[in-house]
């Protein structure tokens, strides 16, 4: 698509339930990133995919968080047994690496999923 698409845009869930957040990146973007932004705060890195593999999962806060990416495209972030501290906006971004010099071009962010755990 023309941009990065995330769904749902809003999710209210009860504490202890599992949630799945979806990200559909820009076609052709091989790199995909998940970040979390709490109210008025910065962007906290969660996980990074290059193709279908995740070279860096260091930002996942606990083993309740997992993510996968299939077909080098859509990614799903799953949070099990949600807690109130999981409430935040979850942002997905995609980019593509340069052919040389080993860096990624600028990220295109989706509009995010606002997760509220009650």
């Amino acid at each position: 698509g023309a941009g990065v698409s995330q769904s749902p845009s809003n999710k209210v869930t009860e504490k202890g339930k599992d949630v799945e957040l979806r990200c559909d990146p820009i076609s052709g973007h091989t790199a995909l990133y998940w970040y979390r932004q709490s109210l008025g705060q910065g962007l906290e890195f969660l996980i990074y995919f290059q193709g279908n593999s995740a070279p860096d999962k260091s930002g996942l806060p606990s083993d309740r968080f997992s993510a996968e990416r299939t077909g080098g495209s859509v990614s799903t972030l799953t949070i099990q047994r949600t807690q109130q501290e999981d409430s935040a906006v979850y942002l997905c971004a995609s980019s593509h690496p340069s052919k040389n010099r080993g860096y990624n071009y600028g990220y295109t962010f989706g509009s995010g999923t606002r997760l509220t755990v009650v």
């Binding site: 910065g42 890195f45 860096d56 690496p97 860096y103 990624n104 962010f109």
Partner: protein, 116 residues
């Protein structure tokens, strides 16, 4: 480690200039700058690579000093549309090793308000 941005907030009148700084304790390979308006997603402004590049985007430009591990964003003759939170994102060389680009670690943000 998260890069440190300064100032945390700045208020300008239209037409005034501002500088936002981003400093890291780690060696940097690239620095990105993004602007986020309230309730919206961050939007990419520019990327600076190791090598001391300076980039410009209309009246917004930036510099990168890899020896000092610092980058600065310069906004000249500010417009109302410049209001928002500015984030720097730093990448520390994963891509150099794996030739594929790595994750960005973002600063805490600088809130810029431009008043008429």
């Amino acid at each position: 480690q998260q890069p440190v941005q300064s100032p945390q907030a700045v208020i300008l009148r239209e037409g005034e200039d501002a500088v936002i700084n981003c400093s890291s304790s780690k060696a940097l390979y690239s620095v990105h700058w993004y602007r986020q308006k309230h309730g919206e997603a961050p939007v990419f402004l520019m990327i600076l690579l190791k090598g001391g590049e300076q980039k410009g985007h209309d009246k917004i430009s930036a510099s990168f000093n890899e020896k000092k591990q610092q980058s600065s964003l310069y906004l000249t003759a500010s417009q109302l549309s410049y209001s928002g939170t500015y984030f720097c994102g730093t990448e520390s060389g994963y891509g150099v090793i794996y030739n594929q680009g790595g994750k960005l670690i973002f600063g805490q943000g600088t809130e810029l308000s431009v008043k008429p």
